[in-house]
Amino acid sequence: MWRLVASRVLDAIPTMLLVLSLVFVAMRLLPGDPAVTLLGDHATPAQIEAMRARLGLDIPLWQQYLRFLWNALTFDFGRSFVNSQSVAAMVGLNLPYTIELTIVSTLIGTIIAIPLGVLAATHRGKAADYATRLFSLAGFAIPDFYLGALLLITFSLNLGWFPINGGGAGFVDRMYHVFLPAIALAFIKAAFVSRLTRSSLLEVLNKDFVRTARAKGGREPRVIYRHGLRNALLPVVTGLGLSILSTLSGSVAIEFIFGRPGVGSMLITGIETRDYPVIQAGIIVFAMFVVIVNLVMDILYVFIDPRVGAVR
């Protein structure tokens, strides 16, 4: 089992390297010379040359590439063009808020989704099943940023129950600030995961061991939760992994709406101010997030379902 885990970790390294290379290529494809952008149109050629040297743009491309890789690995993202702050420090400041949003929305989403999925599966074809289907159809169609805007208008602006912006300070205040944004993301997540729970559970409930459990006189809730749900969990975990990843894209818009700090709003501000080091760092952090989430999901499978390890 540990060998499998180790091989998955090793497998993630070339992936990470390729992702970083793609980021490097993309950043070099950017229209315009960062030095010119930084200095404005009225800069003299000498000034531009000096700035190119300061940014490390004057050395051969392969050296730039190696330096880029090294900087990414050592979390050295340079300094912001706008306020000369260390970009790594900016990431350190913003990342906890994005992680917090991701975790809280995943928790709320799961708490809504799994009972809904079980309800739909155990009442197949009945009203409860159709109601959850409608719920998930709505969740697939409503954009998260629209839902976020509606929640903000209703509960923060009109009712005044929740703060209008910011990330809060201290645990309770932070939870208070993260609640509404997390709900917006959780709803969409729940739509997806509840469908998955339903279909996965329906499949398992048809299996022989469930029939055996019933025949032995097991109570229905016990049969469903102990025998059914536990075995239906693997696809649900996959779904949760996927939903965590899509939360990341959602978080960009949600942070923007709720005026929350976070990697997403850092990235968007960076784009608006053409702050290349910030844009680059934002992209790298998101990319690393994706690779790490995928890796953790892979490793989780091994523990949830030992057969995954045995097959290899």
């Binding site: 390729l18 629209y146 899509s246 934002g282």
Partner: protein, 293 residues
């Protein structure tokens, strides 16, 4: 969320379009969404004739008006008619929502068929790249590429194509691999048919159905992605109307009027829902095994 069709290849047979049309018209729910979609498409095509006002004409005299007989959905902070902007927004959404997945389908299929047909090292290299792109949700990949490239219509086409093409490639690859082992391919090779001809005449018709299913489902995602990018300021640039940037403008005018946000959001939701429902209906017909109910 994301259409995952790892199933067996679905051929696109003659008369299948008629079959799809018949079963959609017979099913009341599908028919409803088909009509919704036809309405949206007509709005998009004839936007300049249907829209009651010029979508970018500003008027200081009619700022933030609530819905009325003159302005059905009210006006925004620049005095622009919201209904007219929503109608023109349909044009932006659909133009991109259809073009980008179509281009992605062509490029992705080309890569997928190549990988699936040749196998070996070709497959390994292409698949490795696909895996990396597929590890990213399309929406996130779109945002990241847009962050690197900047805003604008053609950049959005590039963004969506790069984000979607690997999805098509994966389906095309899997389908090609199973068609590749069929006897008629062996026969075609044995009869001296050239590889490109085999791909075009034997592989493609047999996997086209799978591609079409994925295409209809990805249009919905494309519409949402366009809205998200424009909302973030990375897509359609004002004053040109897009459902996403209407919501963006609305967010800066929350105390003025909530109507633009509500209306534009409903437009996105309805369009995405309609494409999803019809995509599901098409899939049920082309690939009955994939239906989950």
């Amino acid at each position: 969320m994301t259409p995952a069709a790892e199933a067996a290849p679905v051929p696109l047979e003659r008369g299948i379009l008629a079959q799809i049309a018949i079963s959609i018209v017979r099913d009341r729910v599908s028919l409803f969404f088909l009509l919704v979609l036809v309405a949206i498409v007509l709005l998009a095509i004839f936007a300049d004739r249907i829209a009651p006002y010029d979508p970018i004409a500003q008027s200081l005299l009619s700022i933030n008006l609530p819905p009325s007989v003159e302005h059905w959905l009210g006006t925004d902070q620049f005095g622009r008619d919201v209904l007219s902007r929503i109608i023109y927004g349909a044009r932006t959404s659909l133009l991109l929502g259809v073009t980008a997945p179509a281009i992605a389908a062509v490029i992705g299929t080309a890569f997928g068929v190549t990988a699936g047909y040749f196998g070996g090292w070709t497959d390994r290299i292409i698949s490795r790249f696909l895996d990396i792109f597929l590890a990213f949700p399309a929406l996130l990949l779109g945002i990241l590429i847009a962050a690197a490239l900047g805003a604008g219509f053609w950049n959005m086409v590039v963004v969506l194509t790069v984000a979607f093409a690997p999805r098509f490639a994966r389906i095309a690859r899997a389908s090609t691999m199973s068609v590749r082992s069929e006897a008629f391919i062996e026969a075609a090779i044995a009869s001296g048919m050239r590889t490109p001809a085999i791909m075009l005449h034997h592989i493609l018709p047999n996997i086209a159905g799978s591609i079409v299913v994925v295409l209809t489902l990805w249009i919905a995602t494309a519409v949402r992605l366009e809205a998200t990018l424009s909302f973030l300021g990375l897509g359609t640039q004002p004053p040109k109307a897009s459902w996403g940037n209407i919501i963006r403008d609305g967010l800066g005018n929350l105390f003025g009027s909530p109507w633009p946000i509500v209306a534009a959001g409903l437009a996105i939701t309805l369009t995405v829902l309609a494409f999803n429902m019809l995509g599901d209906a098409v899939r049920d017909i082309l690939d009955p095994e994939a239906r989950d109910e």
